[in-house]
Symmetry: C2
Subunit: 124 residues, 2 copies
DNA sequence: GCCAAACTTGACAATAATTCTCAAATATAA
DNA sequence: TTATATTTGAGAATTATTGTCAAGTTTGGC
């Protein structure tokens, strides 16, 4: 993977935005400083960075994928009211991988947990 | 929700197919007995049945959604090799909901767990 | 520094999954 | 058995994402 200014910007945009943005959101931000960046370039870079394990793609939320600069094991919570995405520490799930491997015999390469519900701001 | 023959067929097709089919798969089966059923009707009914809690939509697998007639709490495992979707009992995750609610204060309405890895046939 | 090979880009066409629109058909309740 | 509400089929429309390709950029060896 060669260096590219655009890819650097994608990664930095993700790191600077605590939210878990969609491609569209990142695109809007990138266009502010680079009027000519292309959507294809963005998607290409998001895929490459995901492939390289530098970022994580979060699927299963609404229609479009979200991206996460935090690649440590953790889960996600999406508020059904305000649609914000929150991080959930992985230890809430106990020995989920070990338990599942023992019960099934399958080899687990990765797993994702997504919660839906009301965040503290919206539950009132 | 009024009665409709097509919706009945959607539900029955899902129940008779132990796999976790996509809309496309269900569509192919329905076309065998009803040459004139429309894709829009299928998607409408899948959404209505999901809304009504009679089936469950599984997102986050490949590009298209899968549907599940089993609405009891359970998780899914997708084999990265053969792409089949397996059911995983919910007890592998311990008190995941209680733990998460206690740790965050959020109200959890639902949660999904998706594993990726190799099934017993493919791990050899 | 200069060059060739490999990689990346922007523009935009193409695709895939799903949703929308609307007139015609069907179901329901009185 | 009729009026009202719901559902359908057909196909156009939409949305997110990927593919194509010529032009621009990066890199490692000289």
């Amino acid at each position: 993977m060669n260096y590219s200014k655009q890819r650097e910007t994608v990664l930095q945009t993700l790191r600077e935005n605590v939210v878990h943005p969609t491609a569209e959101y990142i695109y809007d931000i990138m266009r502010k400083t680079d009027k000519s960046v292309s959507l294809a370039t963005l998607y290409r870079n998001l895929n490459q960075l995901t492939e390289a394990g530098k970022i994580k793609k979060i699927e299963g939320l609404e229609n479009s994928a979200h991206y996460d600069h935090n690649i440590h094991e953790h889960y996600h919570f999406i508020c059904t009211e305000c649609k914000r995405v929150f991080d959930i520490p992985a230890d809430v799930a106990g020995d989920i991988v070990k338990n599942t491997e023992e019960k099934t015999g399958f080899v687990i390469q990765s797993h994702d947990v997504i919660f839906h519900g009301l965040c503290n701001d919206c539950k009132k």
